[in-house]
Amino acid sequence: MDETTVREKMREFIKRELIRDESYDLTDDEGIITGGLMDSFALAELAVFVEEAFGVYIPDPDLTVAKMDTLNQMVARVMRDLQ
């Protein structure tokens, strides 16, 4: 799976399931948690989604606001381990 596909799948998931507003124009570098678009519960949900959709297991210490606040950060973390 290429980076663009991963990015768009994640963007769609975040808008639909976590921000609950599919019309929201989510950009790559906006702070999703620090911007109040989703809370830290959503990090756990994101981890489940990433494992199901891409087969990538993000270990607990990487599930922090500092490391997972923007779409760019999330995509980079997934791509690192994507086969």
Partner: protein, 562 residues
Amino acid sequence: MPMLKLATRTAYQTLLDAAALQQADERAAIIYVETDQPDTVITRADFRREVRRYAAALKHLGVKPRDLIIVAHVQNLESIYLFWGAMLVGAIPSMFPTLTEKLDPQIYMRNMGELVRLSGVRAVLTTDDFAPTLGAAVDCPVYGSNHLRGLIPAEDVANFEPHAPAAEEIAFLQHSSGTTGLQKGVALSHQAVLNQIASYSDALALQADDVVVSWLPLYHDMGLIAGFLMPLIQGVPLVLMSPFDWVRRPSLLFRAIHAHKGTLCWLPNFAYNHCARRVRSRDIEGLSLASMRAFINCSEPVRHDSHQLFLARFASLGVCEEMLAVSYAMAENTFAVTQTPLGQSVRRDIVDGLALDEARRAVPATPDHPHARVMVSCGLPIPHTEVRVAAEDGTFLDERHVGELVIRSDCMLSGYYKRPDLDPFRDGWYFTGDMGYIADGEVYVIGRKKDLIINAGKNVYPQDIEAIINTVDGVHPGRAVVFGVPDEREGTELIAAVAEVDTDDPAEHKRIIQAIRQAVASQTTVTLNYVHLVGEKWLIKTSSGKISRAANRQKWLQERGG
């Protein structure tokens, strides 16, 4: 000393009779668990020594009996030692949330400044990072960890003379979990807390071999009493973790239960959904939860479907229906008001939902009734606590009539701290603001009397959030409404905001939505789940010209459904 039960109640005078302080041996008092760190085991001897050392440091700072001490710390062992150390010198501690990465420091400090001014806070104890900034913003000394540690004697202070409080003295304050602004400090006496723990321990049939596992914040009544003070007073090991750690890695709780053979765990309803939906399978492989006596659902309306979801997901780990218990609790009663019997399935009451909403009667119905609604029992009142249901005029109603739940007990608050203008009682009864009914002596809670939203165990006042939204540039001032939306998937009420704006421009809409979400996130402890912008005159007003939360909620739900 025997465990604190109703039968042994007279053996205990104050909270300083806690087993963890009085029987200083090598048994574990606290096991602190963190992601990717080895567990920290604090024995009772360690606990007693550390509490005395911190107490000595507080004394050195000039802290005196009756001084109010705010512990606004991250959840760690230091905050625990400080809380007990303050009680040892006779001061009144109160746990507070610390500043997090998402909160606006200015707002946090303004609120703390108000609290300091109005409650006469003697000192705030916090992290080193935050102490200098906070110190500049409030009118009392603020001490960070390093400063305090510098005052701590190197050795155990074996000859430390603890303050000897009277049983009716205030032991600590519990600040109710509001969203913003100043919260009332619920003042609890030593006597009230010991009465609660004696009665509640009987209701739980608490035993010396129980093990409490908790991720709950210590500034919330459920975390403070069930997940902190009760185990330390009873000498039952407490396996504790930080809520921040748990929320992102919910499997941590199950790993802790497995490793330490946990038996009791208190959770708000949303946590059942959070665990069932967001624990990753590989994180719980090979774990057993069979040691558990009960997961106790508490602090927001209990949903039958949340229990079913939890059961379905974790049955293979040994969770069974008899482990799913319920309690109804509030800080004003120290903690528990009711408890379902442990080891039995919780009673469910199937009623006609329409009659419940409209006639305000809980009329039994068959499961296939078109308006069948499953209500989950909160159990019987704990010993020495009475629960009645009151009509608007304060008269008591019969069983199966819906009204406001009112309580009377021997473990109630002494009052709201430094607020003599607020009398918590009416003819000796505390009016809870919760609506419900009683059937066969068991209490069923339906919801709140007012528009209060309970989101993930937190009380959210819509007017607080609306006030924040009204300050956002682009929103018509006074033209925003906030309400709760029950969500089956999350097992809690989600928070929705609707605001009137002038523009149709998508870029401008995005800016306003971002600004609203950002403002709420940084000024409160909650996140808005839905933000919906509408044009002028969308919002429905009542005949008196006020924006109606209920009517607008209905309109929003209909528009979404259609």
